[in-house]
């Protein structure tokens, strides 16, 4: 039973995706039913896994090429896997339910649910994999399914473009990831986590190789968890349907990078340089993204930048060695960020796809259920004492306090900004007056949408407490969450920056109909997108002009005309033209022969 559960969790979404793609895509209700069955089967099996805390491992041979290559499909369940499984299947199940209403009118509903199942399969594959090769394959599959979901409304050019951007940015990171896997593999002779751990000494004897491998692996996380400088795709990915944003671009897929880092932490740990870089990248992402968030007007984009910033915090947590604390924050963040996204989805749904917060206002009266849950999510995210975010952020802050003043300062500043921009969002959208006719007619959505909100709101409150988180994390893992020694100054500082941020935003924005603060640098996201666009265009132009130069100048000019002119004289050139440039080809061929002779028999 124990060994078959992981397979059920992994394969039921795959079965659903395949069935929908092949047979059920003509029937919307059937597709929805299949998808829901699969995700609840996975969720149920995950709950059953919590009946014991032992490590489960099951595997089958996949490729066997003798000593050169031996790969297995292995699934491993330990405490870390259990936490992640619960997040993915739990939030996945809620988002599936919510989507049945949110996507009710959509023509591509069957395709949407098929893609959602495919995503669940790929994500669960990452979580369950016991080796890097398998993880990489599912890592890529997650990229593909995310591509499909972001581009769900592919007739909208912006959605198609966003899907492309996400795919490309992720590819850049994945190359690093693959190189890292190859390095680790070459050094230790294994891709399985257990095997790598056994042979880690072969890698640690060469510190620079170790650092290089660690940084390459980190590249994968930079792409998937949208860290600077590959962060540009995540805000654009908000073009996808809102439930997708909640599931993939807030709670699960983007957290895969953090999960992966926690998994391979034993490889990173011996390299202080790699950890330092990781911490710095995380901290920079956290601060930059939070600054950008303060000046956005689109409700989903504010949440997207907030996600970036919180992911930065988790990565920084890994960098200071507190992977337990990072996983804890990942866990709590998944609930309240999914809540916030689904809440924003409810608002967008009620307001006929209006996403600009300045065209909302006064929603606390017309959408009370959404308002209350949204505020709970906001309070949890900003670190209000007593709610989930406070505990998990505190764990990261504590670890940073012991390790580096710079990281601690950055994290604290991020907390200040978080309190500021989230209060701004709530005040502008839910308080004040309704600024547009649309906003006046806001209404709470049907229960299939509000019930998931309420469940998530409850989880956003309790998921930080030991009675809840402790039982999910298990004794040992939860202990490592709070490994850092307690310093009472840290929570005091955290609460004070929270108060300053919240109060500042409240006084600045209460009752305003226009943004009183205008900082173009933040609003335009530090012009990073523009920089990339010009870089890419420049490179393309360069490549194109180089290849045309090569064609015209070298092939036609130097080789064909030059050589023929020298050897055969002008009269022959005319016949040469008729023959296109066969002589040029033969000349190249001959050169090749000479080079080969030279290389082998010099």
């Amino acid at each position: 039973m124990e060994t078959s559960l992981p397979w059920i969790i992994l394969l039921s979404p795959l079965a659903s995706a395949v069935l929908i793609l092949l047979f059920a895509h003509r029937s919307k209700p059937l597709s929805v039913l299949l998808s829901l069955t699969a995700v609840f089967a996975a969720f149920g099996s995950t709950l059953l896994l919590f009946s014991s805390h032992s490590v489960v491992q099951t595997s089958a041979t996949w490729i066997d090429l003798g000593p050169a290559l031996h790969l297995t499909i292995g699934l491993k369940i330990d405490a870390l896997t259990r936490v992640m499984l619960l997040v993915v299947t739990g939030i996945g199940a809620l988002v599936h339910v919510y989507s049945t209403v949110y996507m009710a009118e959509d023509d591509g509903k069957a395709r949407f649910f098929g893609s959602l199942s495919l995503f669940m399969f790929s994500m669960l594959g990452i979580v369950l994999a016991d080796n890097l090769a398998m993880m990489f394959i599912f890592w890529e599959l997650v990229g593909v399914s995310s591509f499909l979901l972001i581009g769900h409304w592919f007739t909208k050019p912006s959605a198609a473009k966003a899907a492309n951007k996400a795919f490309l940015a992720n590819r850049v990171g994945d190359f690093g990831f693959m190189s890292g896997i190859l390095l680790v593999w070459a050094a230790t002779g294994s891709v399985e986590f257990a095997g790598i751990q056994e042979n880690l000494a072969k890698l640690t004897v060469n510190p620079s190789l170790l650092t290089l491998a660690g940084l390459c692996l980190f590249c994968g996380a930079v792409g998937k968890s949208a860290q600077v400088p590959l962060h540009v795709w995540l805000p654009d990915a908000m073009e996808g349907p809102t439930p997708v944003s909640a599931l993939i671009h807030a709670a699960t897929m983007v957290a895969a990078g953090v999960y992966m880092l926690a998994r391979i932490f034993f490889i990173l740990e011996p390299s202080p340089v790699a950890l330092g870089v990781i911490a710095a990248v995380g901290a920079v992402t956290a601060v930059l993204a939070a600054l950008m968030a303060t000046q956005q007007d689109d409700i989903k984009r504010i949440l997207a930048y907030s996600t970036l910033s919180q992911l930065g915090l988790m990565v920084a947590g890994i960098g200071v060695g507190a992977w337990g604390a990072s996983m804890f924050h990942l866990f709590t963040h998944a609930f309240f960020k999914a809540l916030l996204f689904l809440g924003s989805g409810a608002v967008i749904h009620a307001l006929h796809h209006e996403q600009n917060i300045w065209k909302m206002g006064g929603l606390r009266r017309t959408m009370p259920k959404t308002f209350i849950t949204f505020v709970i999510g906001t309070l949890a995210l900003t670190g209000t004492p007593g709610l989930a975010g406070f505990f998990s952020k505190d764990a990261i802050l504590l670890a940073a306090w012991h390790k580096s003043a710079f990281i601690f300062g950055a994290a604290l500043f991020t907390s200040l900004l978080t309190a500021y921009y989230m209060t701004r969002l709530v005040v502008v959208a839910f308080f004040g007056e309704a600024w547009t006719p649309n906003a006046k007619h806001g209404h709470d959505c049907p229960p299939a949408m509000t019930v998931p909100l309420m469940i998530l709101a409850v989880l956003s409150v309790i998921s930080g407490y030991k009675f809840f988180a402790g039982s999910i994390f298990g004794e040992e893992l939860f202990h490592s969450v709070h490994a850092a020694e307690h310093v009472s100054l840290v929570p005091i500082l955290a609460v004070s920056v929270f108060s300053i941020g919240t109060a500042g935003a409240w006084f600045l924005y209460n009752g305003r109909s226009k943004d009183p603060v205008k900082i173009p640098l933040f609003r335009n996201k530090f012009y990073i997108d523009e920089l990339y666009a010009s870089l890419i265009a420049g490179t393309q132009d360069l490549l194109a002009s180089f290849s045309s130069w090569f064609d015209h100048f070298i092939l036609d000019g130097v080789i064909v005309r030059g050589i023929s002119g020298l050897t055969w004289g002008v009269g022959y050139t005319l016949r040469l033209l008729q023959f296109s440039n066969l002589q040029g080809y033969a000349f190249l061929f001959g050169t090749g022969v000479v080079i080969l002779f030279y290389m082998l028999i010099k």
């Binding site: 996949w62 490729i63 066997d64 090429l65 003798g66 050169a68 290559l69 090769a133 990489f136 394959i137 890529e140 599959l141 593909v144 592919f154 198609a160 492309n164 590819r171 850049v172 190359f175 693959m178 190189s179 190859l182 593999w185 070459a186 490549l543 194109a544 290849s547 045309s548 023959f579 296109s580 066969l582 040029g584 080809y585 033969a586 190249l588 061929f589 050169t591 090749g592 022969v593 080079i595 080969l596 002779f597 290389m599 082998l600 028999i601």
Partner: protein
């Protein structure tokens, strides 16, 4: 049970019978020729499972000194048969274009041989798979090449096809010259033409490294041309673009497979000479690196899909050479490299045939082979667009496709052999590959079609396309059956050790 050579004889006989039938037939449509060829090849394929094996220790002077039929060569034979069937189906789709480009007095005249010539290529490929002697290998290789000369230049009315034919013929003859010269050198050095005996003699030769290397260069030049390795690749873009599309497909699959098969066989004896082995591996690495760079980077600015596939063919030769360059000196390593090359060739075959089949069908409706002509194909025929999406993803190496596994295995070999430069190069070129393959996908799915009329696909082509797509996914998820088919590679040298 039959002796294995029966298969080649049957294919040849089929070719001659169909040629005769063609010349005496009154019918203007030659389609039945292709259909009966496919049907008979299917029977021969079935027969291939009922052949006896070759004797382990043949008598001196007997036929079995030239020809062996180990399990791996049987796999190659079957693949050659299946490929030929797919090419013939493609040729059926291509019939209209063909008829337009062949000036003839009577309707349909001069198109019949186009459906029969691939059979001779097929028998050449099958013989090559079994050749254990340089003379046999050379004869088989020329049977393949000469039938290709005819097929490339087949469209007499098309300037591009004729030009491609001339280029291929002249450069091909040049490379054949080098290859034969290499064989004579080897014979001069060792007095043998049998691979096993050459290996034994070469290993015991003292102080003639330069002469051995000289022979090797000549052979490498000849085979480098066949597999389209840089700097012997210059013919590829023009010939691929100019030749009739089914021939291009056959050329990129068949010629490449033949070249690599022979390359591995020929290299084996030379790698047994310890004093020069490292030099050979260095040269192979350089060739692989240059081929990777040229094939993938030159493909970036291409706008013609057929030409793009030509550069992609060069690029894939680069990955295959990368695997070959990882051959260790120990024969056991050769076995796993052989399996890797075999799998890669098989995956390449699936995705290339698929691309060209879709290309053949689609271009008759799109009136062009430029990438922009494929704009909005997903709206005109979701089936073809999806098939091409699968082919392009597999060529680019998206996980869970056969193409990914091929690349994965190649990189695994490179890691094993610590070929760091090649791995770095390979990583960059895979990235470039994603860019130019996915451009095609973007055009099909995100651009608006100029003409939105739907495209119909015939039943036979549909079946082949479905099989190829299924193959790409099935062997992408579970590569085991193909790998183990190639893995029992007991090359003559390995058994002699």
């Amino acid at each position: 049970m039959f002796p294995p050579i029966t298969l080649e004889i049957l294919v040849l006989a089929l070719g001659f019978i169909l040629l005769l039938a063609e010349s005496f037939s009154q019918s203007t449509s030659k389609r039945s020729l292709a259909k009966s060829a496919v049907f008979c090849l299917a029977w021969i394929f079935a027969l291939s499972f009922f052949v006896t094996s070759a004797p382990a220790n043949p008598e001196p002077g007997s036929f079995w000194n030239f020809y062996s039929a180990d399990p791996v060569s049987m796999v190659f034979k079957r693949i050659a048969l299946l490929t030929t069937m797919a090419v013939l189906v493609m040729a059926l789709e291509y019939e209209k274009v063909l008829a337009k480009n062949i000036p003839s007095a009577r309707e349909g005249a001069g198109t019949g041989e186009f459906f029969i010539l691939p059979l001779f290529t097929c028998s050449g490929l099958m013989l090559l798979a079994s050749a254990v002697d340089l003379v046999m290998a050379f004869a088989a290789l020329e049977l393949v090449t000469i039938s290709f000369y005819v097929m490339v230049a087949y469209m007499r009315g098309s300037h591009a096809s004729l030009e491609a034919g001339v280029k291929y013929l002249i450069l091909g003859a040049l490379s054949t010259g080098f290859f034969v010269y290499g064989i004579t050198w080897i014979f001069g050095l060792t007095g043998e033409t049998h691979f096993t005996k050459i290996a034994l003699k070469l290993a015991s030769l003292q102080g003639s490294d330069t002469a051995i290397l000289f022979a090797l260069v000549l052979v490498l030049v000849g085979l480098g041309f066949k597999v389209a390795a840089v700097p012997f690749q210059s013919w590829v873009p023009d010939v691929y673009q100019g030749a009739p599309t089914p021939v291009t497909a056959f050329l990129s699959v068949g010629s490449k497979a033949a070249g690599f098969l022979l390359l591995l066989r020929v290299l084996e004896p030379f790698l047994g000479v310890a004093s020069i082995a490292h030099k050979i591996l260095l040269v192979l690495s350089v060739l692989a690196g240059a081929t990777l760079i040229f094939g993938n980077l030159a493909a970036l600015p291409q706008n013609n899909l057929k030409r793009l596939l030509a550069y992609s063919s060069v690029g894939h030769a680069g990955y295959l050479l990368m695997a070959v360059a990882c051959v260790g000196v120990a024969p056991s390593a050769l076995g796993s490299v052989g399996a890797t090359v075999g799998f890669y060739l098989f995956a390449y075959l699936l995705m290339t045939l698929l691309s060209f089949l879709v290309l053949t069908i689609a271009t008759q409706h799109t009136k062009g082979e430029e990438i922009q002509h494929f704009n909005g194909l997903s709206k005109r025929s979701p089936f073809l667009a999806f098939a091409l999406l699968v082919a392009m993803s597999s060529l680019a190496g998206v996980p869970l496709t056969a193409g990914f596994y091929g690349k994965f295995l190649v990189f695994a070999q490179a890691v094993n052999a610590s070929q760091w430069t090649l791995i770095a190069l390979g990583t960059v070129t895979v990235g470039a590959g994603f860019y130019f393959y996915l451009r095609v996908v973007a055009a099909m799915y995100w651009a608006e079609p100029a003409d939105a009329s739907p495209i119909q696909v015939s039943g036979l082509s549909k079946m082949i396309i479905v099989l190829l797509v299924a193959g790409i996914f099935v062997f992408g998820v579970n590569p085991k059956p193909v790998l183990s088919a190639f893995q029992t590679q007991q090359t003559p040298l390995a058994s002699a050790h």
